[in-house]
């Protein structure tokens, strides 16, 4: 939740709050006034879509096509949903510097408001998973142990036991999950970014996803406990072997050199 409090002071925070408020108002209005709401929602929505369309034309159209239909450089965005946009742009993966097998994450250059507008536009191209609410991905109260088992069944094969990442074919990789915002983890499972498979709610339920996020939060965060000492990158025997050789045997050889060395002789004078 540190991330959220840091963003509170962001210059665009007001805009976000305003937009959220607008959306919320619109939503409430919708709920209570089913008759007239269509009009109001459409206008707020279409405003965001219009703004999103402009952003899209600048940042995305060159690869994904002007109407999101996709080109040889980028896949079609019809039906990928708002969650995909929120994830890809929010983690800085999109816009990509260059098309390739895998687009790495980098510093995000869009504000959350702009991302929401982009998401609204892309979502308007075809139905897809929506951005999850905080209640959906908040790890509080979830079953950590169940999450661990789910993680080992569904995720560890690519992301390692505690989400330290791993290699895929031809230079692709499953990124480390250290310090990834729970929202993005949730969105990734929901829409399967790049080569990651999708884990739809039908096969990995909302509760399952929450459990997984809770497990990751326990074993892979800044304050995760490592009772035995330094976790050596959490990479298993390779880093343990290196540590054993370099620090362990290296240190013992240094001690051996001291044990066997000649003691300083008195100067002849």
């Amino acid at each position: 939740m540190k991330k959220l409090s840091a963003r509170r002071r962001h210059p665009l925070a007001a805009v976000v709050v305003l937009l959220l408020a607008l959306a919320a108002t619109g939503g409430l209005y919708t709920a209570f006034a089913p008759a007239d709401k269509a009009q109001a929602e459409t206008s707020a929505q279409s405003l965001a879509i219009d703004e999103g369309k402009k952003l899209y034309a600048v940042g995305c159209a060159s690869c994904h096509g002007t109407g999101g239909q996709g080109t040889t450089d980028g896949p079609s965005l019809v039906g990928v949903g708002a969650a995909a946009v929120d994830f890809q742009v929010g983690t800085g993966r999109m816009p990509a510097q260059q098309p390739g097998a895998q687009v790495p994450d980098k510093k995000n250059i869009y504000s959350q408001a702009e991302i929401d507008q982009l998401a609204a536009f892309v979502a308007s191209l075809g139905a897809g998973p929506a951005v999850p609410t905080e209640e959906q991905y908040d790890p509080k109260g979830a079953d950590i142990a169940a999450g661990g088992e789910l993680f080992r069944t569904n995720c560890a094969q690519c992301h390692n036991f505690t989400g330290k990442g791993g290699a895929l074919t031809e230079g692709k990789y499953a990124p480390p999950l250290d310090d990834v915002d729970p929202k993005y983890i949730y969105e990734a499972m929901l829409h399967g970014p790049q080569n990651m498979p999708v884990f739809p709610d039908t096969t990995l339920t909302e509760k399952n996803k929450k459990d997984i996020i809770a497990y990751l939060d326990t074993v892979n965060s800044d304050d995760s406990e490592s009772p035995g000492g330094m976790e050596l990158g959490g990479l298993g025997p390779v880093s343990e072997g290196l540590f054993g050789w370099i620090f362990g045997l290296g240190g013992l050889i240094a001690v051996a050199v001291w044990v066997a060395a000649r003691t300083a002789k008195a100067k002849k004078s």
């Binding site: 789910l150 569904n154 498979p197 009772p227 035995g228 976790e231 003691t263």
Partner: protein, 355 residues
């Protein structure tokens, strides 16, 4: 003379002309400029000539031993006072167990100081005069060897082992046969293989149960690009033989666009683009499941065998020797995914009888 008659010809000793160069100690002279000057004279250390320096060394050693005693007391104190579940933050180690750290450091210090004290004592206060010790040949002198051979011959003769052939042969026979009992005893270590490796729990009509939710899967649950793991209906985690059965029955389900499926049989055995493959690698049996939804490749994390799930799980890289077995699936009357039989080939690693 050829080397055949004298195989030692190429040895340096056979050719060495100046024994001085690597033999006895001698004074270098015109003929032997590299002669061994012998052990250099012993030089004193400061501690050997200065009693104050020696005292300093003594105090250092005593200090090290004292630190060790204190560290042992610290070890006991830590053991008694620090709770086993106390987590402390120590830079740069992270959030670690306070007890493990305290016990390890005190024990390590206690031991290390004993060692450091002893070595410092040896290095500074014990004599450092080098002593030469003579070596003696390992080989016995000829007369000793002759005596041993004679003794042996006499012993062998007295035993009459060579003369009484019947005795010798039956003894050898008995000695050769008795270990067989030991080998026979090992028979009950396990059952015979028979056709155990050829069958799994899958059979016609068994539902595909989602690993995560324990619910049977419907085709609509499995979206394009998704990855789902399934087990046969009726197999529960608490079952006595769960581990052994899941080791063969574990299933990986993905959905492709039917037009992307290149292999004809794969298409036939699929349902509406949903294909089910064994999750067990055909190389040495790791659960293979690093599925790349865009390339449809699946990679084994153990030895990097790569299979193309859109082309009959053909091996495209790595040490696996044959494709992953596919399970033929369909949909039952209630709309659930079901198996249409067992795998038609053994799952997992190849073996001699696999054929």
């Amino acid at each position: 003379m050829s080397s055949q008659e004298n195989p030692d010809e190429n040895l340096p000793a056979a050719r060495a002309t100046d024994g001085h160069a690597h033999g006895d100690v001698g004074v270098p002279d015109e003929k032997h400029p590299f002669a061994d000057p012998g052990l250099p004279p012993h030089q004193h250390r400061i501690q050997d000539i200065d009693e104050r320096a020696a005292k300093r060394s003594e105090r250092t050693v005593a200090l090290l031993f004292t630190v060790s005693m204190l560290a042992t007391i610290g070890f006991i104190a830590s053991f008694v006072t620090i709770p086993a579940d106390r987590i402390v933050y120590i830079f740069p180690l992270g959030h670690i167990s306070g007890l493990n750290f305290a016990l390890g450091m005190t024990l390590g210090l206690a031991l290390f100081c004993i060692g450091a004290g002893a070595v410092h004592w040896a290095r500074t206060l014990m004599s450092d005069e080098e002593i030469a010790d003579e070596r003696h040949a390992i080989e016995a002198p000829p007369e000793v060897k002759a005596k041993v051979m004679a003794d042996f011959k006499q012993g062998a003769k007295e035993s009459a082992l060579g003369r009484r052939k019947l005795l010798r042969n039956t003894m050898f026979g008995a000695l050769t046969l008795f270990p067989l009992s030991g080998i026979v005893l090992l028979r009950d270590l396990g059952p015979l293989p028979e056709d155990k490796l050829r069958h799994t729990l899958w059979s016609k009509g068994k539902l595909l149960v989602n690993m995560n939710t324990d619910e049977p899967l419907r085709p609509s649950d499995v979206t394009v690009g998704s990855l789902t793991f399934a087990k046969p209906e009726g197999l529960e985690e608490h079952d006595h033989d769960f581990q052994t059965e899941i080791a063969k029955a574990a299933l990986m389900i993905v959905r492709l666009q039917p037009e992307n499926i290149k292999d004809k049989r794969e298409l036939e055995w699929s349902h509406d683009g949903i294909v089910a493959y064994s999750k067990i690698c055909t190389h040495v049996g790791c659960p293979i499941s690093l599925y790349e939804q865009q390339t449809h490749h699946v990679l084994c994390p153990c030895h990097q065998s790569t299979f193309d799930l859109s082309d009959g799980a053909r091996v495209i890289f790595g040490p696996a020797g044959h494709p992953l077995p596919q399970l033929r699936i369909g949909v039952n009357d209630e709309g659930y995914l079901e198996a249409l039989g067992d795998f038609d080939e053994p799952v997992g690693p190849a073996f001699w009888e696999r054929g």
